[in-house]
């Protein structure tokens, strides 16, 4: 006997929510979920989790009670052809009870919520200050001179990867150069919007060495999805070593090498926007003996007024808003899966020749807008007054690209 159409359509109707629900449940089982808010790796993220578990439990219990009550009412009083019962209006005791009960639940939720919010807003006990500036579509990270962070005598500037010492309360001071962005590394702390003209603060603390992935959490334009960031936590000793690396003097490539040719191309094409601290512009000055530093002026080219500082680029292992890796997949997996004891040494190696991933960097230099959408219409710069959002296509030859890559590999 064939099933009736009514029965088939009812089964289909049930199958859709069942499949969606199954998908959601299965998605929650993912092991490799670097942006999982339920796996805190620091005190601040743990505070949030300690708050959201009971709130989630209370909200879940309320949801189940309401669904059960509605379901029971629907089933118990379903239409069986019975006469409509006597209608009544108002029952003060029930109404007052149903007002007081949710109010008490909300008060119960509000107390720990406020306590957590206020604890997370505390800045007095932080021991290290990092300035973060968001712009379309990458993060600039700057360590001001300070007694904190173990002492920083000269400012350090980098991008994409925020390096912090473990077990130290770090204060992030965030702002934006163009539109509102949101700094969010779920395993370390909650979201913090960064707004042009404002300084927003966020506490950061990581229990153990490792890399923690993050993502801009406020829609900020065409490449919002490609605006990522990573927090790299190093042991205090490794953090000292990292600082020393970052403040190391610039070493010019050996004359006659491909990297030296790449430095020339860099000075002509890239140095208009990208700063490399210590790079001397002796190619474009009348007096070759002149030690004039190469000074980038991204504000003349880019809408945000900034481009990533590429000093010690190869000490990071991502680029272009932490969206692509400078290391191969194998090396990436090794670093990401390294034990806390091994992680620091691996990270401090930077991008070695064995681990270097030339593919994405080459594609990026060849035609950045093709790899990362930055302008809806590359030919129409009217809305930004002739300035680019992000990196334009430079039109370099393949030989020039090879030279530039050879040069960048030396920025370690």
């Amino acid at each position: 006997m064939k099933p009736s159409w009514k029965l088939v359509s009812r089964r289909r109707a049930l199958a859709v929510p069942a499949l969606v629900g199954l998908g959601i449940v299965v998605a929650g089982c993912a092991e490799d979920a670097p942006q999982d808010t339920w796996q805190p790796e620091g005190d601040n993220a743990r505070d949030i989790q300690n708050l959201q578990w009971p709130v989630f439990a209370i909200a879940g219990a309320v949801l189940l009670i309401v669904i059960a009550a509605v379901g029971w009412s629907v089933f118990r009083y379903r239409d069986k052809g019975q006469p409509i019962p006597k209608q009544s209006h108002g029952r003060p005791s029930l109404e007052i009870g149903l007002t007081i009960l949710p109010a008490l639940i909300l008060i119960g939720v509000a107390v720990p919520t406020l306590r957590t919010v206020m604890a997370l807003a505390e800045t007095d006990d932080t021991e290290c200050v990092v300035n973060i500036t968001g712009q379309q579509w990458w993060w600039e990270i700057e360590y001001p001179t300070q007694a904190g962070c173990g002492g920083i005598t000269e400012p350090i500037i980098t991008s994409g990867q925020l390096v912090i010492p473990t077990e130290m309360n770090v204060l992030m001071r965030g702002t934006s150069r163009d539109v509102i962005h949101s700094f969010w590394v779920p395993r370390i702390n909650g979201k913090r919007d960064v707004v042009p003209g404002r300084i927003q603060t966020l506490r950061l603390e990581a229990d153990r060495p490792g890399i923690y992935a993050g993502q801009c959490a406020e829609f900020c334009g065409l490449s919002h999805a490609n605006m990522r960031m990573e927090i790299v936590a190093l042991s205090p000793e490794d953090f000292e070593a990292w600082k020393a690396d970052q403040l190391a003097d610039y070493v010019s490539p050996e004359a006659g090498t491909q990297a030296a040719d790449g430095e020339d191309v860099f000075l002509q094409q890239c140095a208009r926007c990208h700063q490399v601290n210590g790079l001397i512009d002796d190619k474009n000055t009348p007096d070759p003996a002149d030690d004039t530093p190469s000074i980038a002026h991204p504000e003349d080219q880019v809408y945000a007024g900034a481009a990533p500082n590429l000093t010690h680029l190869m000490s990071r292992n991502t680029f272009a808003g932490a969206t692509w890796d400078l290391v191969t997949q194998q090396c990436r997996d090794t670093i990401w899966n390294a034990s806390p004891e091994e992680f620091g040494a691996l990270y401090l190696q930077g991008v070695t020749e064995e681990c270097f991933n030339p593919v994405d960097l080459r594609e990026w230099i060849r035609n950045a807008p093709e790899k990362k959408p930055m302008f809806a219409d590359q030919t129409d710069l009217g809305p930004t007054g002739g300035l680019y959002r992000g990196m334009p296509a430079l039109g370099l030859s393949e030989d020039q690209i090879d030279d530039v890559i050879a040069y960048l590999l030396e920025l370690n």
Binding site: N131, T133, T145, V195, I199, I295
Partner: protein
């Protein structure tokens, strides 16, 4: 049977015909004859129309018509919209050859008249009851009419207020409107505590007040605004090289401030009573003699003066080549300082300084600093990575 009115016209037609014949025979004049024939023809036409329409006397054909025919319904009240439409049309035409604002007002009046007239015409056909028809018109039109009328009234009142305030002197304005506010308050008290005051009285007082306000606004608009002295901005002080002076230079201390600037600051530069100059940064505990500013980013710094004398804060960003104002050419071997500064800040006062620094101090090797003219030996280093 020929109706009474038609009989009269028929007689007049015959009389005119006979008179034309008689006049033509006796006098022989063509002009009089032509006139009388024309009158006879016109009267004949009217006679024919009257006979066809039975003297427009429906009761002669339908005895119940005086009470039940459509013509027996009371006429709807007179409408203002035809004349508004006409006025709008005239304004549109005048506006086309005079001022665009006249055209716009005419167009608005014309469109309003068309829409209102359509609604009115539609509602008048809704039923035989004028009160019911009026009710449905109001139900449809009032939700749009009242807000528009309220907005127009508010606009007229606000505009009148603004004209009066711009006409009065800087000190006279607050005094006049202080008195006015007191009168409004007093009137409010009277109405609140004397509920027996008749609505008509309240309406009359309010009406007179509005008319007085509008009349005052028109008079003030015709008289023109008071002389408003233009203020220099803090940017002007820097451009004119007054940053290094400790004397007062007239400037609008709020010229560079806006809501965004007031909303948040990057840090504070404080001149203490003992003459020390220190920096405080958001989120960083304690005071420092250096402050780190993000490159190429709009930054707000608040200067707080705790010293006894009026002081201004100066941001020193090195020097640039001097430029000849006439030729716009660079003057060799001559430089001018690059500075931003606040206006003078009184003891206990504070002021914001908004700026953006395009070049890194660490890379260019240029020493950037905050200083206070008249306070020697004190500076806050500005580090721009």
């Amino acid at each position: 049977m020929i109706p009474t009115g038609s009989r009269l016209l028929l007689g007049a037609t015959l009389l005119a015909t006979i008179a034309a014949i008689a006049y033509g025979i006796s006098d022989g004049g063509s002009l009089g004859t032509t006139g009388l024939i024309s009158a006879a023809l016109a009267l004949a036409l009217l006679t024919a129309v009257n006979i066809i329409t039975r003297d427009a006397d429906v009761s002669s054909m339908d005895p119940s018509a005086p009470t039940e025919s459509p013509a027996a319904r009371p006429a709807p009240p007179a409408s203002i919209w035809p004349i508004v439409g006409g006025l709008g049309g005239v304004l549109v035409v005048i506006g086309l050859v005079s001022y665009p604002v006249v055209f716009v007002f005419g167009l608005i009046a014309l469109l309003a008249a068309i829409i209102e007239w359509m609604i009115e015409a539609w509602s008048e056909r809704a039923s035989a009851d004028n009160r019911y028809n009026s009710g449905i018109r109001q139900r449809l039109a009032h939700p749009a009419e009242f807000p528009v009328l309220a907005a127009l009234t508010a606009a007229v009142i606000i505009y009148s207020f603004s004209r009066i305030m711009l006409f009065l002197s800087k000190t006279g304005g607050p005094a006049a409107f202080g008195v006015l506010a007191a009168l409004v308050l007093a009137a409010g008290f009277v109405i609140a505590f004397r509920p027996q005051v008749r609505n008509a009285t309240v309406s009359a007082v309010a009406g007179i007040a509005v008319i007085g306000l509008v009349a005052g606004g028109v008079a003030a608009a015709l008289a023109g605004e008071r002389d408003i002295e233009p203020h220099h901005t803090m940017g002007d002080i820097a451009a004119e090289g007054h940053c290094d002076t400790a004397e007062e230079v007239e400037a609008d201390e709020r010229a560079s401030q806006n809501v965004a600037a007031k909303a948040n600051i990057h840090g504070e530069i404080v001149l203490h009573e003992d003459g020390t100059l220190v920096a405080r940064s958001i989120g960083i505990a304690g005071e420092s003699t250096s402050i780190t500013i993000t490159r190429s980013n709009a930054t707000n710094i608040r200067f707080r003066n705790e010293a006894e004398e009026d002081r201004r804060l100066v941001l020193n960003l090195g020097e640039r080549a001097a430029v000849d104002e006439e030729t716009e050419a660079t003057i060799p071997d001559e430089t001018v300082p690059i500075q931003y500064c606040t206006a003078l800040v009184e003891d206990g006062g504070s002021q914001l300084l908004t700026f953006s620094i395009p070049d890194s101090s660490t890379i260019t090797g240029t020493a950037y600093s905050f200083t206070v003219p008249g306070v020697d030996g004190q500076a806050v280093e500005v580090v721009v990575p």
